[in-house]
């Protein structure tokens, strides 16, 4: 018999995550049975429910299953006691964003509604400050040849890029701390079964495939409409990331080597529509923006039409923060383009300014917002494939129960 572990409930932790619904769980395990994506060995979310009731914080923060859940809500819909296991897992993920990412104060700020003005103010002040340093912050909005060019006020090389590159570096640093902690925790909870798990590289490739095809997400019962919205968002983000990357590359090519591949002028943006590279890029950007709007609109409406969270789970601040940030990005992005074309400078520059703030919030606050799931869930899926989580049998884990449970 494996050695028994001491167990000590953490009352503070319980207090933070507890809900009246969660306390109703009486461990019938209907949730694990109906969950379409729960593995065979030590399935979720039954065990997470009692760990939460018992306040077993260390286990839950190292539990990969919290992230394997795609929040389809089949468990909550079928729960005979109304204990809403789906909401508990979402709460645990929110707890992770709020409490477990470095630095902790940002986690608290991003996830506290009253601190929203503060976290909007950070990018706003930073951008204005950088513009002031650049000397582009003028009371009259700059026009070039009578046209709006956003780069004139928010220059790429000296404003956008330093700001976003440093934000990205900060995010990478933050994640590297939390991911390494999570990875070793997950290894403790679910040790690798060598003959069942994939090598790491293969696991990563398989994970990317799974994410792009939404193959696991599509198994979720309640989440059919959520999956299509999510697909639209994933592909629009990919499209927009490609556009952003290519444009940045083109700009740096222009700046460093004075090679402008898209126009005869000095600037890459706005992209001229009638050019071999600019045309397809612009098409891709607009298609991405439209797809983004469709995706985020569908996601918002799904939740709006389910105010009690009966189908999609209880709504949280974290959900709305992410959805409205994305919506803002999509609307101000497309709005900036249209306003530039109709050439109403004061409004156009203002909208673009908001666009920059929203994009900053999405990127720089990534470890603290629900958006962080793209990193944590991806990591957990890679881990599950690497250790053979879905392939292992009771025989494989025999004798390790005391470690795993």
């Amino acid at each position: 018999m494996a050695k028994a572990k001491f167990i000590e409930p953490d009352l503070d932790f319980i207090h933070e995550i507890s809900s009246a619904e969660m306390q109703k769980c009486y461990q019938c395990s209907t949730c694990t049975v109906v969950c379409p994506i729960s593995p065979e060995v030590n399935p979720f979310p039954r065990k997470e429910m009692i760990w939460a009731q018992w306040g077993l914080k260390d286990r839950l923060l190292a539990d990969p299953d919290v992230w394997l859940c795609h929040n389809c809500n089949d468990c909550s819909v079928n729960c005979p006691r109304g204990a809403n296991p789906g909401d508990l897992l979402a709460t645990l993920r929110n707890y992770f964003y709020t409490k477990n990412a470095w630095p902790a104060f940002l986690g608290k700020a991003v996830n506290t509604p009253s601190m929203l003005p503060f976290i909007i103010a950070i990018p706003a002040v930073l951008i204005l400050l950088l513009a002031a340093i650049n000397g582009t912050l003028t009371p009259l909005f700059p026009l070039e040849d009578g046209h709006i060019r956003y780069g004139a006020m928010f220059p790429g090389m000296t404003l956008i890029d330093p700001l976003f590159v440093s934000a990205t570096l900060f995010v990478i640093m933050s994640f590297s701390i939390s991911i390494s902690k999570l990875w070793s925790g997950m290894n403790n909870m679910t040790p690798r079964v060598p003959n069942k798990g994939m090598p790491l590289v293969q696991a990563i490739i398989a994970t990317i495939q799974e994410i792009l095809t939404h193959s696991r997400f599509d198994e979720c019962g309640q989440a059919k409409t959520r999956s299509s919205a999510h697909k639209a968002l994933v592909f629009s983000f990919i499209a927009l990331a490609i556009v952003t990357g290519v444009v940045a590359g083109l700009e740096w090519l222009d700046i460093l080597f004075d090679i402008n591949l898209v126009s005869s002028g000095h600037h890459v943006t706005p992209l001229p529509f009638l050019s071999i590279i600019g045309g397809p890029l612009k098409l891709l950007a607009n298609a991405g923006a439209l797809l983004l709007i469709y995706g985020v609109y569908t996601a918002i409406m799904n939740r709006k039409n389910d105010p009690e969270g009966e189908t999609f789970g209880k709504q949280t601040y974290q959900d709305w923060f992410l959805l409205y940030t994305i919506l803002t990005i999509a609307l101000t992005g497309l709005g900036s383009e249209l306003l530039r074309l109709v050439n109403i400078a004061p409004i156009a520059y203002s909208v673009y300014f908001i666009h920059l703030i929203a994009v900053f919030m999405l990127i720089a606050y990534l470890p603290f917002s629900k958006f962080a799931h793209i990193v944590y869930r991806t990591t957990a899926i890679i881990h599950s494939k690497h250790v053979g989580r879905y392939e292992m049998t009771a025989e494989d884990v025999k004798g390790k129960e005391a470690i795993m449970l």
């Binding site: 050695k3 028994a4 572990k5 167990i7 319980i14 306390q23 009692i50 009731q53």
Partner: protein, 754 residues
């Protein structure tokens, strides 16, 4: 009184179309013979009454529907003045046989002849009147003054009966008196409630119908219902009272925790029981025994010794809710405390589920299923509990300042039969002429039953033991599966946790039910009538003692301890203890026990009254003895469902198969019956016999007969015993069919033509 018999056949309900009533009546020799198209109608009844008045008919043989039907018409005659015998021509003939067939008509003829024979052999009843011996006393004696006893006493007192409460302790209140609070009994099942035992005690003490003896035990209880003579020891002084019926409300005691060393009791200073916890809470302060500190964490181990074949094999029904309640004590009395409950299952039946749900909302309560692997003491006095297969994990360890063992309920009862074995063993050892095997058996009994020494509560002066018999777990068997409160001693009703584990509310409900049974008992008994299940029956057995051989079979086999023995072993009957089942009548090898309307000779005459067709007619005959309680009504259903079966069977209903006297088997075979089928209630652990062991006794007696048959080279297959419950009516045609095939195979009874 001179008997004048009238035979009647009702031709209603399709009977007239199926058979020739006039032809059947022609076969009978009786002064009055009539048919009527609806005997149960006012006109039919008027005709019967007219015959009784003008012709002087006072014995009716009525061929109509089942004796279980139309009782409101045919059971209205006073059995002391009119004999009524019902012959079932509807359910048992017209509705299950081919109409107009020759065999169907033979069946009717036979049944009417049997009915007439029975009437000829029957006598008018003379109700037993206990008052001839002694004055009737309807006082209800309540044994135990806890919540069950007090409630029962108040219920009976409010119904106008005088009640005596006999309490062993110096104070009333029982276990409830020691308790702090009770778990919620009302919606929303959230807050604990006061026990209110004080109010109950005050109400009982103030009731003028209730007399209370405290510090009182029973010296001796003699005689039977309504004429009990009771000697009490009250504070060391003898007090003699009389009583009508008993309500046993002796309650429970906790399972002995000294047997629970494996759960830490006795080995760890801070392992206590739920009873100790309750007493501590009642004092208003929770402290752990080792150092008097407030326990910041308390762990409850459920089913401590319960549902465990080594200890109490049963569930005590309340411990889960008690632990939830005590968890609330801890959480309310000690700030920031943690309470763990390790359970097998949480059993909070009915709406008490809401109490469990409410307690689940407490963030400081931690529940998990699990098996305790070890309980050890830590250096600081706290207790480490290791558990396996929990919901939290495969193997876990928990540390708690104090552990509470949720021990179960053991009935406060005495096993009358075990005590009797002890007494008998002692008597055997005193005898000078006892044989060696007897002495060895007696010595063995002394060891086996030594724990029962002096355990009796009632001190009944009954041959079968001084207290109620037990079946399982030390609980007095509620001897009819479907009837709570009943025990195997007439007039003594069990209520509350001494009967089966239960909570306060159930005990109070139980008390009311038992009070009702006790009232029914004194009322019926005082009128000379039987109590349940033959409630209202005015017949009773009489013993022709001149021919008694003192074989003691009747005194041994009576399931109700009705019969005592004198020094020589001659039976002494106490009719108010009798249930009128006739088991003694079946047991008696001398056939000296008879009822006025039910006797060995009566059934034997019925058997002999039939003309059995010759072998070459190829009309076999099978006699079916059927228990009146399950098998007979099941055969009625067969008729109602219009299921068909062989016309060669002849059914005789019996009060209980236990009343089957073996002589009937011989009579049947010598009369030419080819086979005998006996259908009685299920026996064994989950017996359904209305008289506890009647069907089983019958089967045992048949075993002996079968051996004899084999010796005489007469196929023992001719006799078959079947167990049947009411709901299995559809099996009856199949049972009959199979038995007819067997009879076909073994061939006709060789005695047929003698």
């Amino acid at each position: 009184m001179e008997k004048k018999i009238g035979c009647y056949i009702c031709t209603g309900c399709e009977i007239g179309e199926a058979i020739n009533a006039e032809a059947a009546l022609e076969e009978l020799s009786a002064p009055v013979k009539k048919t009527h198209e609806a005997l149960c109608s006012p006109e039919g009844l008027a005709m019967l009454k007219q015959d009784m008045e003008s012709e002087g008919v006072n014995a009716l043989c009525i061929g109509a529907c089942s004796m279980r039907e139309k009782t409101e018409v045919f059971n209205t005659f006073d059995p002391k003045k009119v004999i009524v015998e019902r012959v079932n021509l509807r359910e048992h003939v017209a509705w299950c046989q081919k109409p107009g067939d020759e065999d169907t008509q033979m069946m009717v003829n036979d049944y009417m002849i049997m009915g007439l024979t029975k009437v000829e052999k029957s006598d008018f009843l003379e109700a037993y009147s206990p008052s001839e011996e002694q004055p009737i006393d309807k006082t209800i004696i309540v044994v135990g003054g806890g919540v069950t006893g007090l409630t029962a006493a108040l219920e009976a007192a409010k119904a106008g009966y005088s009640v005596v409460i006999v309490e062993k302790e110096a104070e009333l209140g029982g276990f409830l008196g020691k308790m702090n609070k009770q778990f919620p009994k009302r919606p929303p099942y959230a807050e604990l409630q006061d026990t209110n035992i004080g109010d109950l005690i005050a109400e009982a003490e103030a009731n003028s119908n209730i007399k209370i003896y405290k510090n009182a035990i029973f010296n001796k209880v003699e005689n039977g219902p309504c004429i009990y003579e009771i000697s009490l020891n009250v504070n060391g002084k003898e007090v003699n009272i009389r009583g009508g019926a008993f309500i046993m409300a002796t309650g429970w005691k906790p399972y002995d925790p000294n047997n629970l060393g494996h759960l830490g009791y006795g080995n760890c200073s801070n392992v206590i029981t739920n009873v100790m916890m309750e007493e501590m809470a009642a004092k208003g302060k929770l402290e752990r025994p080792s150092d008097g500190q407030e326990p910041k964490s308390v762990l409850f181990i459920q089913c401590a010794g319960s549902r465990d074949p080594e200890h109490l094999p049963y569930c005590s029904a309340v411990c889960c809710r008690v632990s939830l309640k005590q968890a609330k004590y801890v959480r309310e009395m000690i700030g920031d405390s943690k309470v763990y409950i390790l359970y097998k299952d949480i059993r909070s039946p009915g709406l008490y589920e809401d109490f469990y749900k409410n307690m689940q909302q407490d963030e400081g309560l931690f529940l998990t299923k699990g098996e305790v692997a070890s309980v050890t003491e830590d250096a600081d006095g706290s207790v480490v509990v290791e558990a396996e297969d929990t919901l939290v994990g495969k193997n876990i360890k928990l540390k708690a300042d104090m552990v509470v063992l949720a021990t179960g309920m053991v009935p406060n009862s005495a096993d009358g039969e075990a005590i009797r074995k002890l007494t008998d063993a002692k008597a055997t050892l005193k005898k000078e002429d006892a044989a060696k095997p007897q002495i060895e058996a007696a010595e063995q009994d002394l060891i086996t039953y030594k724990d029962h020494e002096g355990s009796q509560i009632l001190n009944l002066n009954y041959r079968q033991g001084p207290d109620l018999p037990m079946l399982k777990y030390g609980m007095p068997d509620s001897h009819f599966i479907c009837f709570p409160y009943e025990t195997r001693r007439t007039g003594i009703y069990a209520a509350g946790p001494m009967r089966t584990p239960m909570d306060i509310q159930d005990s109070m409900d139980d008390a009311a039910g038992a009070a009702m049974k006790a009232i029914q008992c004194v009322e019926l008994t005082s009128q000379g009538k039987a109590v349940h299940p033959r409630a209202g029956d005015e017949s009773y057995p009489s013993f022709f003692l001149q021919r008694c051989t003192q074989c003691k079979r009747c005194t041994e086999e009576c399931p109700f301890g009705t019969i005592n023995e004198d020094a020589k072993g001659t039976p002494e009957i106490f009719p108010t203890r009798c249930r009128r089942c006739g088991i003694c009548m079946g047991a008696c090898p001398e056939r000296i026990i008879s009822f006025k309307n039910y006797s060995v000779d009566m059934i034997a005459s019925e058997i002999k009254s039939l003309e059995i067709p010759d072998e070459d007619e190829e009309k076999p005959r099978v006699l079916v003895f059927m228990c009146e309680n399950d098998a007979y009504p099941a055969l009625d259903i067969v008729g109602k469902m219009r299921l068909q079966y062989s016309p060669f069977v002849r059914v005789i209903p019996l009060r209980c198969l236990g009343s089957t006297n073996i002589v009937w088997i011989a009579d049947s075979l010598s009369s030419g019956f080819d086979g005998i089928l006996l259908i009685g209630c299920k026996y064994g652990d989950d017996y359904q016999c209305h008289y506890v062991k009647g069907s089983e006794l019958c089967n045992t007696r048949l075993g002996n007969v079968k051996e004899t048959l084999d010796r005489l080279a007469l196929e023992s297959e001719r006799i078959r015993f079947e167990q049947l419950e009411f709901s299995e009516y559809e099996k009856i045609p199949k049972i009959i069919e199979e038995f007819m095939e067997t009879i076909d195979r073994v061939g006709p009874n060789p005695y047929k033509d003698f």
